[in-house]
């Protein structure tokens, strides 16, 4: 259980998986009664998720609110205890670890949180915030830590002399840089970034995205990048996993997922994302999903997506979707889809993102052209 101190050593191992997640489930119990607590149900936030991340790779985990993407990330750094399943870092299963062993493994994975206002203690100055992980793990002497804090702050593009300032003295983007510096302090192998740019203004988002990319290049970091914004995820990720209601429905390289989405949910998600181009927006066809995401307390039987699925409707509502949960299938090299009828999707990118062949479905709605610009 030796910990690789130099990040270079971590990249040397090449393409072996750093993180393997197998059949991970996180259920939160629902209880009733004050004196005699009765267990009346479970919120199945994550319900059987498997994936692996190679060293130096970025895996994007994308999905809408409540799909379980953040819970997955938090279970991986063991902020939640998994209900079942295995989380292996270099072959060591975290799920069974406790105490000192767990703490030692935690050095290797750090988290960057969404809200840079809530994730920094307002009563600690920047130096204490960034040095805290070093103190907890007993790394270095006081003066070494101070030096390291200065290094880390310059690494993330902050002035080391600002170490004496407090979080409220910084803007949102700068605070997120502090969060990144803290995550880097212990030279982790894996960084779980949970919506790291969603709380930031668009002009600032690009600063943080570029920073994360630069850090990955220089330190050989491995990222699990969790976000709801597929455009951002596609930009930063090597591979992308799409989650819906506690399960991964599609997993593929960023390019493959974009060019040839095969799960009907992914197709709908891609078609729903607005494109900052009025000419394309006017000619686009959208798949408008009906209704809301069902409750994870009582998820639909079979395929979780069957209640809103446009493909199932098109195929005449086959019973198999209700009766049988689809297992992830390899439909192309490294392209897994959990859908019984994924071959029938034909979700090529032109179809979803642009003009031309619309998805022939009853629920397909053309985007009406704005009237006054029609002649312009």
């Amino acid at each position: 259980m030796t910990h690789s101190i130099t990040p270079q050593a971590a990249t040397a191992a090449g393409t072996s998986p750093l993180l393997e997640v197998e059949d991970l489930a996180v259920w939160f119990p629902i209880t009733e009664g004050v004196v005699f607590e009765r267990h009346t149900g479970d919120v199945r936030a994550v319900d059987g998720v498997s994936f692996s991340i190679r060293r130096g790779e970025t895996l994007g985990l994308v999905g809408e609110s409540g799909c379980g993407k953040s819970t997955t990330g938090r279970a991986i750094v063991r902020l939640y205890k998994p209900t079942r399943g295995a989380i292996r870092i270099d072959g060591t299963d975290l799920a069974g670890l406790e105490g000192v062993e767990l703490r030692n493994m935690r050095r290797r994975m750090q988290m960057v949180f969404q809200d840079p206002y809530a994730s920094l203690d307002p009563r600690m100055n920047v130096a204490s915030i960034v040095a805290e992980p070093l103190e907890i793990h007993g790394v270095g002497t006081g003066s070494e830590r101070r030096e390291r804090v200065g290094e880390l702050l310059s690494t993330v593009g902050l002035d080391p002399s600002h170490a004496v300032r407090y979080p409220h003295e910084f803007s949102g983007g700068q605070r997120q840089r502090i969060g990144v510096a803290r995550a880097l302090a212990l030279q982790p192998d894996l960084i779980v970034a949970d919506e790291p740019v969603s709380a930031l203004d668009v002009s600032i988002q690009a600063q943080i995205i570029n920073l994360l990319g630069r850090l990955q290049d220089s330190f050989g970091l491995t990222y699990l990048f969790i976000a709801h914004d597929l455009s951002v995820v596609r930009h930063v990720s090597d591979r992308i996993a799409v989650m819906y209601l506690g399960r991964i429905v599609e997993l593929a390289t960023a390019k493959e997922l974009h060019d040839r989405p095969l799960h009907p949910y992914t197709v709908a998600l891609l078609s729903a994302i607005p494109i900052p181009d009025p000419v394309r927006e006017v000619s686009r066809r959208r798949i408008i999903l009906q209704g809301d995401v069902p409750s994870p307390v009582n998820p639909p039987s079979g395929c979780h997506f069957h209640t809103r699925c446009w493909l199932r409707e098109r195929l005449g509502n086959p019973e198999q979707c209700v009766a049988e949960a689809p297992m992830p299938r390899d439909l192309a090299a490294g392209h897994q889809v959990a859908c019984h009828f994924a071959e029938k999707t034909d979700g090529s990118a032109e179809q979803v993102l642009s003009i031309g062949r619309p998805v022939p479905s009853a629920s397909t709605a053309p985007v009406a052209p704005p009237p006054t610009t029609a002649g312009a």
Binding site: A206, H235, I273, I275, P276, P278, R286, L289, D292
Partner: protein
């Protein structure tokens, strides 16, 4: 009755005057130790039936502009310190509170980002919908109830009759936003102000709600001011856009013009700093360095100058006025022939706008950027 209102309103103004005309609007917030310059001389027009975008980042003044139009600025800190807000030629900024109350809801309605604080948690949807109707119109309780059911059908809420008896917390986020839209459209307003109406929603639900707003406002001919930070939403929803930065409008024009030929360095920067789902692979993002200015200081020079790659010495001292990009004289402010205008002393060339950065040595970068304080 709405028809009568409309006739009365139309008679009161010039034939060519726009529905809404905001002129040199200045809004400041006075706090115990400072004055925040939230909106500093904003002017724009909205014609009947138009959908106009107001785009910008947090703190740029887009929401404050619209709270000022509705006279809903938080009191006593927020004040309209200058300018006019003409709706059919009547100045809303100078109106008595009792008069503006008649206008709200009837002529101008608003939907907010988060529907929950706008809905009363202890009243059923029925009570809230019929209250709006009966406050402005003389109709019977039964008619109001029927109208409420019709409205829920209109915004696509299944089982409207039993749903009327529900409380706001019994609706999902997307459904609550639909209820808000139903309330906003209850009196067939002529102008709908939608302030980040889908920002709190998931992308598939956003698509539903945007489509609903587009369909309903087109059907009724309602003009819309759409406030958002999302350039994708603006591209799909609006005919014209005003780009705001730090209390000023820095670029305005047809949506197609602004996306095809962005001309202000801030707009250029925004478009290059967002990853696009349809973009090429490995496309580089060019962030806008630094952070927005401290609006507690009175603005000097161009507000964007400290972050601008094209700035000149002049930009630091003299705030540019908004003029036509092509240098032509009189500007068309509304409709399909609206003039593309920017406020910039040293705009990027089309090639530079496409590249997202100055191509030759060009701008002299004065001083350091990047410090928000």
């Amino acid at each position: 009755m709405t028809q009568a209102n409309r006739l009365r309103a139309t008679a009161a103004r010039d034939a060519d005057a726009p529905l809404l005309s905001v002129r040199d609007l200045v809004v400041r917030f006075k706090t115990h130790d400072a004055t925040v310059h939230a909106v500093t001389g904003v002017s724009f027009d909205v014609a009947e039936g138009e959908t106009v975008g107001l785009v910008g980042e947090s703190g740029c003044g887009k929401s404050v502009t619209n709270l000022a139009i509705m006279r809903l600025l938080p009191k006593p800190a927020g004040r309209i310190e200058g300018g006019r807000v003409l709706l059919d030629g009547q100045d809303l900024a100078a109106m008595a509170e009792s008069e503006i109350r008649d206008i709200r809801g009837r002529d101008v309605a608003m939907i907010f980002q988060d529907p929950m604080p706008s809905l009363n948690p202890v009243l059923t949807i029925e009570e809230q919908l019929t209250e709006t109707l009966r406050a402005h119109r003389k109709i019977s309780a039964a008619d109001a109830r029927q109208r409420a059911i019709d409205l829920l059908v209109l915004v696509g809420i299944p089982n409207p009759e039993p749903r009327l008896r529900n409380f706001p917390h019994q609706f999902s986020g997307g459904m609550r936003q639909r209820v808000m839209i139903a309330m906003a459209l209850a009196l067939e307003p002529r102008l709908l102000i939608a302030d980040e109406p889908t920002t709190a929603l998931d992308v598939t639900i956003q698509a539903q709600v945007l489509e609903l707003i587009r369909d309903l406002t087109q059907k009724t001919g309602t003009a819309v001011i759409l406030i958002t930070h999302d350039l994708g939403v603006v591209a799909g929803m609006t005919q014209r856009v005003n780009v705001m930065y730090a209390g000023f409008i820095v670029e305005a024009g047809l949506t197609t013009d602004i996306f095809a030929k962005p001309s202000h360095p801030y707009t250029v920067g925004l478009l290059h700093s967002i990853p696009r789902i349809d973009g090429g692979e490995g496309e580089e993002l060019i962030p806008i360095e630094g952070a927005p200015p401290n609006q507690r200081l009175a603005p000097v020079g161009c507000p964007f100058a400290p972050r601008c790659a094209w700035r000149t010495d002049r930009c630091l001292t003299e705030n540019p006025v908004i003029v036509a990009v092509d240098g032509s004289g009189a500007a068309v402010l509304t409709g399909a022939a609206a003039t593309h205008r920017i406020a910039c002393h040293n705009p990027p060339t089309p090639a530079e706008a496409a590249a997202g950065r100055p191509l030759s040595g060009g701008a002299s970068r004065v001083g350091a950027t990047g410090d928000a304080r």
